[in-house]
Symmetry: C2
Subunit: 381 residues, 2 copies
């Protein structure tokens, strides 16, 4: 473990775990949901309001910050947390996923990923070594190894090659990483092949990392395939290290992944859906543009402490119909608060030994993104 970094397991209920992740910038309870601040801002939400959602740790992206404003500016401002005015722990993704999903003209060799910026087409190279240098300068509490992400489904040979390359890159990242106050996590790859996931996990564990991520999922493979990949991976990770499922997911994915033994999550859904007027509640999803809300003075959730829930649904709908920026802002704040309340509820259930009941209750009400509103017809997009 790095100095200042630790993970303590406090309770388990079945495979589900409750713990505490400690960094030099503070401790956060797990299961943990990290809001995504892609460009050092949680989209549309000021950092004080982010804190009020209950968030304890924030994720940002080395890929985006490298391209704009550049790690030199973030470093000069005192590092990521200080740059965005956050007084708690932070984590940066290495850019492996963004190279896969955003970059243009990508060429991956044993050396690294060579591509063109999605912003201006300029040539960029990400190697395990410069990814470490970039993330060290950005200065989050946790850095992620550079990995090779491939589309799923994919042929076994391609998935195996990318997984083994990611293992070799993990070793190079480990060798290159030198910032004493920053923990480096390895990332398990291997697609949907149980034996490849196992090989990846065992390879990383043999090197020894303070935390392990499960990468390359939530890329269109569907919830059952994701759950199966998780079950093939988690038994091969050590119980005393945090397990971070990257980029996941829908509320039901969070519940099921916590049930399988995951500790940490990040996802853009709360803000992305919020900007599109889709909000989460413990009674299911609500599409705020629907006419049924026009004269509804009730808040989204009567027991939600967020500032959006100080307004009636009719007001929130009006903001979206009028194209007012405050609509996306308030819906994002509500969704971020919902995700924090969700993981807090899961944690409380684990600690009190009622996880199975809570899981069942939650899955009964949390709708899928194509679900229907309670008591209503299928909602319009």
């Amino acid at each position: 473990m790095k100095p200042g970094f630790s993970f303590t397991l406090e309770a388990t209920d079945g495979a589900a775990r409750a713990g505490t992740l400690t960094t030099l910038h503070g401790s956060v309870p797990t299961p943990l949901f990290m809001p995504v601040a892609t460009a050092a801002t949680v989209k549309g939400v000021d950092i004080g309001r982010v804190r009020e959602t209950g968030a304890g740790m924030i994720l940002s992206n080395a890929y985006h910050l490298h391209l704009r404003p550049g790690e030199a500016i973030v470093e000069q401002a005192g590092g990521l947390a200080r740059f965005m005015g956050w007084d708690g722990p932070t984590l940066t993704d290495s850019g492996g996923y963004q190279v896969f999903s955003l970059a243009r003209q990508v060429r991956v060799t044993e050396d690294g990923a060579f591509f063109r910026s999605h912003l201006d087409g300029s040539p960029v190279e990400f190697t395990p070594e410069n990814s470490m240098r970039i993330q060290e300068r950005i200065g989050a509490d946790v850095a992620m190894q550079m990995d090779h992400v491939v589309r799923l489904p994919n042929d076994r040979g391609t998935v195996a090659d990318a997984m083994r390359r990611s293992l070799r890159w993990a070793a190079r990242c480990r060798a290159a990483h030198s910032r004493p106050s920053q923990a480096l996590f390895g990332i398990v790859q291997g697609g949907l092949e149980p034996d490849l996931r196992q090989e990846s996990a065992e390879g990383l564990v043999a090197m020894g990392f303070p935390g392990y991520a499960i990468g390359g999922l939530s890329v269109g493979e569907g919830p059952e395939a994701m759950d199966a990949a998780l079950r093939a991976t988690l038994p091969h990770l050590p119980a005393d290290r945090p397990r971070y499922l990257m980029g996941v997911g829908q509320p039901r994915d969070i519940v099921e992944s916590v049930a399988a033994g995951v500790d940490m999550f990040d996802c853009v859904l709360p803000t992305r859906c919020g900007r599109n007027s889709l909000v989460y509640t413990f009674a299911g999803q609500v599409r705020l543009r629907n006419a049924v809300h026009a004269t509804d003075d009730a808040p989204l959730e009567p027991d939600c402490p967020c500032i959006a829930c100080r307004h009636g649904r009719g007001y929130l709908r009006h903001l979206f119909l009028a194209g007012e920026m405050l609509g996306p802002v308030l819906a994002s704040i509500h969704n971020l608060t919902f995700y924090q309340r969700l993981v807090a509820r899961l944690r409380a259930a684990i600690v009190s030994g009622r996880f199975a009941d809570t899981r069942r209750e939650l899955l009964a009400t949390l709708a899928s993104p194509d679900g229907v509103e309670p008591g209503g017809p299928p909602a319009a997009g």
Copy 2:
């Protein structure tokens, strides 16, 4: 005066006045700057953050709210303040200015204004009588008379006709207005003609209103012409009633209008400029996109309490360059805070008898919109 509505003059320094405006929803100090919540939202700023800027009273637009969501929905939600979650006084503009500036195919007769909605082209009619009915249902503490606004400069005959029609409409509004808890203000018209301004003011004062607005200014006539029109108007308004200069303006306009004896202001500039990365400071305007701010860790103003000033300028610039919504949000919050600090400073100067000095100091540093940043070349747009 209406029950619950009053205005108390507490200090004068030359023509400048400090007072208190009291409504059923609370008291606010004057000089008063009202943020504009066109569609029942101050653009991009949640209502708690609006309160934190120091704002005491908010303006909204009957024209916009009538078209969307409709006054029935606002009324059903408990009125404007409750609809947007504001716990203080509110005011609605009648729509006279929006008919002039936004509506299509406008036809003005003695009866009223007939036009097509700028949203969907549907036919709308605004008469003094239905303007009162709409504003009563919206339920602000202060309603404005329906007036006839014309372009400036304009020929004297057109200006005189519109002013006299506005006077006749003022009488009809007064007769039609019946909401006991709402004060109705008259609006002085008359363009840039001193005698027409005097005729309008005297006509309104003869009818007797709890407050008087000066309308039809800040429509492109320039600051000197505006100051002259003000000087032609204010001596004809009673000292014991609040004087409200509508839609004004730049910080220097506020200073000069307070010097002339104005008590109330509203303007979209703080939020509109903020969205365009232009921020106000007591040392002049700052264009946040300028490269000079890239590595600047200093806040916009070290003594400003707003949440934007917890960040360095480099971070704010980054948000604008990255196209992040938080840039406009934070710049709007800073500008709204600046306007509140400006009127608070003017009030303190009046109360302590130092207004002339404060006015001189402020005018020396407040740049025009086309001004230059201190120490820098003319700024890029």
